[in-house]
Symmetry: C2
Subunit: 450 residues, 2 copies
């Protein structure tokens, strides 16, 4: 959403080096909107404007630009100014950014940071992509369990400006083991009894994530328990950091988008569609197209095998695409429904019997209906009304096959421990295509030989 | 995730009517886990256990059961107990629940609620599904702008136990107009200057949702601005309520799942896959299959039109499914990538030139590669190496057509103001099928007549 409303004024302020107005521009609006108004400026101009904001505000505004824009600014601007900005960014965001920069460039920035921040960055960089560790921030409100409500509030007011969230307070012992949590809401409601200690208030049955836990499993917990943040522990139950709700929304979006891409037989993209290299994109699509091509080759061999039938009854050829598409489409529908229901936690492996029962009923209804239309069409095209029966019978059989294959294959993949979304719709369609041809010719043999 | 670990003990406690242990069971664990442990119990047993929890805790635990389970409990249990539970539920959740119950049943529950709660429910029920109003809760921390930090904290501690979140304080004037917001984090950090008023602290450039705004647009704002909650205003800018982050995750999940279903030509399901009626499910799939069937009928007429060519060169028939699936698969990939990129905000309509340029390059690479494999196969099957050239040339042309159609059609739908995901993959494949056959026979005519 580029907003060009303020661009001329902003450029004029920059040309005049109008400190008062530029400072006001950086502080009055919501940080996200400030960033929006600057989107039409060049990287150098944005950077120039940002120098008029206080360091904390500067990194807040900077955080609202999209990642590609952030990277191009960091790559071009003076290293000392970059380091100053990086220092103020949220611990998890800055590590994500630095991961995308060249190692060389990072090595010029890191020495300019205070030693504590540097160590924090190095530790966070060491966690593998896709784990809880790679999502967490180390800025967390840690408090000792002996504090009273009032003391805790005072301590919190000292820590608050440094923290990303203060919506839960994490109660730790002297060895940094997580003992319990107190929500800010609880703390605030407890102010009537200012001498109650955190130990008395805290909830001890805390939902936690382990540092090497898969991000999708973490997102599931946060969603299921409606959390604002989840604490991340190491194997010794020491508190390492927290993962906040905004990162969880990103994980959910990423996971579902990847599913949609896998369902269409594309290896999920790691970068924006418009920014991914064309060779990489071709590769991610090409491997699947090649596999699908070899699967489809089987249809050519099958049809060649049925050469005699196809020459004797030439009209059968006309219906080939219609029949395989009916099978493929019903199969894709079933596969997509089963895959999305599994991702959404609506069905589990143990529901397979119910799923297949329901699919059987649905496929009978769908196949029956399409068969009736198919017969109406074939009636006018086939040599005789009895020959025309081949089409509806085939359509019914192919659509039942399609639905059952489409529903079963993702379940089988899940059972094998693979991602069910790998059982893509084109793959289901490819399998149903070849089965459809075999069914078609065999139904034709039965009907037409009478 | 049914957990059967505690079931025997729980049933024993119920049989003995062991108040002490049941009360402990309801309070010690995290509410979400308490619900999990009870999942194996019957509705009546769960209800019986819940009676041992304090009202607030009871509704919290109840909130963790899935919706179907909640409804079956509400439908069967004594109306006065149901009303007591409903009173304690979060304002937004209880309206969602009541919307699913029969009107008759709701009419027996409502009179048992305090008048204020009843009015609140009736107001929230009046907002249309899918709008900001239908997602919001009316439980919000409203404070006057003249309060100082310390007074605000005291007022907040009085309100906190009634509220779903206290992560932002909404500053209103005497007429309930929203003037600004203060985050709890800001408030807590301001305790060092206890006499600063909310007016001095508050951010006035607030991101808001209008009550009739579409839920997807609201979710986008919350995601873009990384909010924990967004205030909902009426057309006179009066503060009606807030929408919290957990409802936003639900909207994002719903939206992306619907996209995946539309991409596979299924009208999105409103209920869980295993719970939706089979007739409804067949209808949601059947209308698309019927439309697609009529589209596919065109292939039959096209092939009939080319009867002569297909009888003269019978081997051409064998490659029909292969060629149309290559076009369909590359088209589905392009369509899915464009649709998911639009949903994720990675591309806009104005990027259409770039998208088509990039798709052209990718389709040349993909088509070229598959054409080479295709020629290798056709070499052995076609009557002569020069006749075999029909296959690679067709594959290349069909895949370019597939990619460009797949990328263009969702953009056209978007331009027309329709949901791009309606341009489903089977639909793209259907269009590419018929174009593929026309291309195939015309390429064959050119090559084979030489």
């Amino acid at each position: 959403m580029t907003n060009t409303l303020f661009l001329p004024e902003l450029r004029e302020m920059l040309a005049d080096n109008n400190r008062a107005e530029l400072e006001e521009f950086c502080t009055t609006l919501n940080a996200g909107r400030t960033a929006e108004f600057m989107e039409g400026l060049s990287d150098a101009e944005v950077w120039q404007v940002l120098q008029f904001a206080q360091p904390e505000r500067r990194s807040e505004i900077f955080g609202y630009f999209d990642e590609e824009r952030q990277l191009s600014m960091l790559a071009q601007q003076p290293t000392d100014e970059v380091a100053e900005l990086v220092e103020e960014l949220a611990a998890d965001d800055r590590v994500d950014l630095l991961q995308q920069l060249d190692d060389e460039h990072v090595d010029t920035i890191l020495p300019l940071l205070p030693v504590e921040e540097r160590r924090d960055i190095q530790r966070l960089r060491s966690y593998a992509e896709g784990t809880a560790g790679s999502l967490m921030t180390t800025e967390v409100a840690k408090l000792a369990d002996r504090l009273t409500a009032r003391e805790a509030l005072e301590e919190l007011s000292r820590q608050a400006s440094e923290l990303e969230t203060i919506y839960y307070l994490y109660v730790v012992d002297d060895d940094n083991h997580l003992r319990g949590i107190v929500s800010t809401r609880q703390l605030v409601s407890s102010l009537a009894q200012p001498h109650r200690t955190l130990r008395e208030m805290m909830e001890t049955d805390v939902v936690v994530a382990m540092v090497d836990e898969d991000q999708e499993s973490v997102a599931e917990k946060v969603e299921h328990f409606n959390l604002l943040a989840i604490p991340v522990l190491d194997s010794g139950r020491q508190l390492l950091g927290i993962i906040t709700h905004d990162d969880v929304i990103d994980v959910v979006r990423e996971e579902l988008t990847e599913d949609a891409q896998r369902i269409a037989a594309v290896t999920p993209l790691e970068r924006d569609f418009l920014r991914i290299g064309l060779v990489t994109l071709s590769w991610k699509r090409g491997i699947w197209l090649t596999i699908l091509f070899f699967a489809a080759l089987l249809t050519a061999f099958a049809l060649r095998h049925y050469e005699l039938e196809l020459e004797t009854y030439a009209w059968l050829v006309w219906f080939i695409p219609l029949i395989i598409s009916a099978g493929g489409n019903s199969g894709s529908q079933s596969a997509t429904l089963v895959i999305t229901a599994m991702t959404g936690g609506e069905i589990e492996l143990r529901d397979w019997r119910t799923v297949l029962m329901r699919e059987s009923v649905v496929s009978l209804m769908l196949g029956g209906f399409i068969a009736v239309i198919g017969y109406a069409v074939a009636f006018f095209i086939a040599p005789s009304p009895s020959d025309a029966l081949v089409i509806p019978l085939t359509l019914l059989a192919v659509m039942i096959t399609g639905c059952l294959c489409g529903a079963t294959l993702p379940l089988v993949f899940k059972r094998l421990g693979l991602d069910p979304a790998l059982m893509s719709n084109p793959f289901v369609a490819g399998i149903v295509d070849i089965m459809g041809i075999v069914i078609y010719i065999n139904v034709a043999r039965m009907i037409l030989s009478n």
